[in-house]
Assembly symmetry: C2
Homo-oligomer: 346 residues x 2
DNA sequence: GTGCGGTGCGTTAACGATAACAGCGCATGG
DNA sequence: CCATGCGCTGTTATCGTTAACGCACCGCAC
C-alpha cells in the first residue's frame, strides 16, 4: 500500500492555467450556468492541456456517496454467478454506479471481512450471495448500507432478496421424470444447509407426493459441493443394489458430474437438473433442465438496491422478495419417445 | 446520484464518546504504539458501541492511493474472462487491493468511457483486455496510472502484457490433425483484426507448411463473433462441394457453435480448437483442445501491475511481456484409433 | 445620483482522516 | 531546584472538491 505522490493536476492547477479560481473550474465542469462563455472556454482548454480528470474520491468525500455498489458472489467461475454479475453491472451502469466485485469462494468465514472491506470503501449498497447460514455480519452491514440478497434468502434478516423458483422448478422437472414412468429417481443435492438445496429437495419430494410415488430414500445424496463429488456419488449409485432409473441434480455442477460419471461408466440414464448449461442440447442425453435467466437475478437485485438508494430519505419500504421464473427445457426426449423411459425392471 | 446524509459516525464521534481527540482514535486504529492501554480500550469500546468503520474514501484522499485496481474485460459471461477475473482478484486481495470490474461487452467504443470512469475513481492501476485495435484511450490512461494488457497485446503502446501462446498452441493442435492424415481442415476464426484471431491463423498456417500441406483456402472462415455465427458457418462448410475432413476453431465459443452444427447435421468430424470448456471430455467427439490456465493470466497480469505500483518511485522498468503456456489435450482420440482419421476420399 | 437586481466570480469552510508539530505532566539527573 | 527527556495526547494544516455566502461591477429605473 505504497503512497502515491504526484497524482496529477488538481482543479487549482487548472484554475491557475486558466486564470480563474478552482471554484470556477468546478462550476464549469459541473455545467453550472453562471459562468461566462469566455471563461468556460479557457477552462476547457486548460483541462485538455493538463489532461485533468476530476478526482472522484474527493468528490465522494465532499458530496457523500461514492457511486459504487458492492457485489459478493460465491463463485465467479460458475457461469451462473458471472451472468448474475453482468446483470448487476448492466443496471448499475444505467444508474451511474460502479461495481466493486468480490468472490467469497464459498468460504463463509471470509465473507464478513470481505463485506467490512466493502463498507469501508464506502459502497452505497451491497448485493450478496451469502455463502453460509450465519448472517450476523450482514445485519452489521445493514447498519451502514442497504443490503440485497441474491439467490439465497435472508435468515432472520429484514432485507430485500431475489430468488429463483427453487421449489416450483424442482417439482416440475421431477414431475417430468415421474410422468415418464420413473419411480426410482436418485437425488443428487448440494448441502442441505443451503437454502437452494433444501428447497429443491422439497420440490423433488412434493412432485412424488402429488403422484403418490414414494421417494427412493436410499437414493438420496446430499452435501455434494462440486462436479467431482457429484461424479463419485453417481458412480456409487450406479453400483448400488437398487439402481436408479433416473437422476435429479440440484445444480449445474452436479449435473455435469453426474454426466461425467455416466459417460465413464459407459451407460446412460435420464437426468433432470437445476440450471441449464452450455452444450446441454448437444449431449444426446435425455436431459430435463430447469432453466432461468441468471442475468435477470442480478438486474432485479440491482434495481431493488438502487430503488432504496434513490429513496434514502423516505420511510424505508417493507422488505421485498422477488422471484425469477423458471421453465423446464427438455433435450433428447421427445414425447412418445422410448429413450427417456425407464428400462423394464432389471 | 443522490447525496447520502448521516452516513454514520466519524472519528470525532468516537473520540467524543471515548473522551479523546479524533487524532488519538486514528492512532489506536492504526495500531500506533504511542497510546496508553487505558485509552486504547476506551476507544475500542466506543468503536464497538457506535459500530464505527473507518472511511476509506477520506483515507484515500489524505494518504493518496485508493487501494483499488480496475479490471476491464470484454465478456464476463465467457468462462475464460471470469476465470481471468478470479486470478486478478486472488492476487489483488493478497496485496490488499480491491477490484473494480467493468465489462465492455466487446464494444470498443464504450471502452474509453469505462476507462475514464475508472481513472476518475482513482484506481491505482488498470488491467485491460482491449476490445478493439485503437488504443489511444489506453495511452491517455497511462498518463495517470500503469496499465497492463491481458490476452491481447499493445498496439503501439509501451506497456506490460500477458499473452497466451496463441501461435504455438494453434500450430500444435493443427499439427495433431495433420498427423492424423487430414489435409482438408476448415478454419473457423474470430475477426482477424483481433490479435488472437490473426495469431492463431498464423499457427494454423505454419503447421501446414511444416508438413508441406497446402492449407485449404476455400475452407477458411473468419470474423465469427459467437457461437451462433460459428454454427452457421459450419453448416455452410458441410454443404460445400469440397467438404472438410476436420475443423479448427479459434476459441471456445466457436468450437461450441461448430459442435452444435455437427450435432444438428447428424454428422461428426474431428475438431481442434483453442480453449478447453466444460464437458469437453464427455462429448464422445474427437476433440483436440488447446488448454491453458485462464486464472494464471489474471494472476500474472495482477502481479505485473502491482509490481509497478510498489516501485512507483523507482525508474520504471522496460515493458514486459509474459506468456502463459498452453498444452494440447485430446478427447475421444486414442492413437491408432480410426475414429479421428479422415474418411476415405468421398 | 441613489438604489436595486442580476451577473460573474472569489473566499471560506466544510467532507473525514492523518502527518507534523506542539504541549503537557512526570521522572530523572546534574 | 531547574534542565532534560520521554510518554502521551491535542492542534493545525492538508488531501481535492464543492455548497454557501459575499462582493464587485454593470445597467436600469426613479
Amino acid at each position: 500500500m505504497t503512497a502515491r505522490r504526484g497524482s496529477g493536476p488538481t482543479m487549482h492547477d487548472v484554475g491557475k492555467l486558466a486564470q480563474v479560481s478552482a471554484m470556477t473550474v468546478s462550476r464549469v465542469l459541473k455545467n453550472d450556468p453562471g459562468v461566462s462563455e469566455a471563461t468556460r472556454e479557457r477552462v476547457f482548454a486548460a483541462v485538455d492541456r493538463l489532461g485533468y480528470r476530476r478526482n472522484q474520491t474527493a468528490r465522494s468525500l465532499r458530496l457523500g456517496g461514492s457511486g459504487m455498489i458492492g457485489l459478493v458472489v460465491t463463485n465467479l467461475a460458475n457461469p451462473f454467478y458471472s451472468r448474475l454479475a453482468l446483470g448487476v453491472q448492466e443496471v448499475a451502469t444505467e444508474y451511474g454506479f460502479r461495481m466493486l466485485l468480490s468472490n467469497s469462494a464459498e468460504q463463509a468465514d471470509r465473507e464478513p471481512d470481505i463485506i467490512d472491506g466493502l463498507v469501508d470503501h464506502q459502497v452505497e449498497g451491497l448485493i450478496v450471495v451469502p455463502a453460509g447460514s450465519r448472517q450476523q455480519h450482514l445485519a452489521d452491514a445493514m447498519r451502514h448500507v442497504p443490503v440485497v440478497l441474491a439467490a439465497r434468502p435472508p435468515a432472520g434478516l429484514d432485507t430485500d432478496c431475489v430468488l429463483v423458483e427453487d421449489f416450483h422448478g424442482a417439482r416440475e422437472a421431477t414431475a417430468c421424470l415421474l410422468a415418464d414412468g420413473h419411480t426410482r429417481i436418485a437425488f443428487l443435492g448440494n448441502p442441505p444447509a443451503l437454502y437452494t438445496g433444501a428447497e429443491r429437495l422439497r420440490g423433488f419430494w412434493a412432485a412424488h407426493e402429488e403422484v403418490g410415488v414414494e421417494p427412493a430414500h436410499a437414493l438420496i445424496r446430499q452435501g455434494l459441493v462440486d462436479s467431482a463429488t457429484a461424479e463419485r456419488a453417481t458412480l456409487e449409485l450406479l453400483k448400488a443394489a437398487e439402481r436408479p432409473t433416473a437422476l435429479f441434480c440440484t445444480n449445474n455442477r452436479i449435473s455435469q458430474g453426474a454426466i461425467r460419471a455416466l459417460y465413464k461408466a459407459g451407460t446412460t440414464l435420464p437426468i433432470a437438473g437445476f440450471d441449464d448449461f452450455d452444450l446441454s442440447d448437444v449431449l444426446g442425453l435425455p436431459l430435463t433442465l430447469v432453466s432461468y435467466d441468471a442475468d435477470e437475478i442480478g438486474r432485479r437485485a440491482a434495481r431493488l438496491l438502487i430503488d432504496r438508494l434513490e429513496h434514502r430519505d423516505a420511510a424505508p419500504p417493507a422488505s421485498r422478495r422477488v422471484t425469477v421464473a423458471t421453465r423446464v427445457v427438455r433435450h433428447g426426449v421427445t414425447s412418445g419417445d422410448e429413450q427417456g423411459r425407464p428400462a423394464a425392471d432389471a
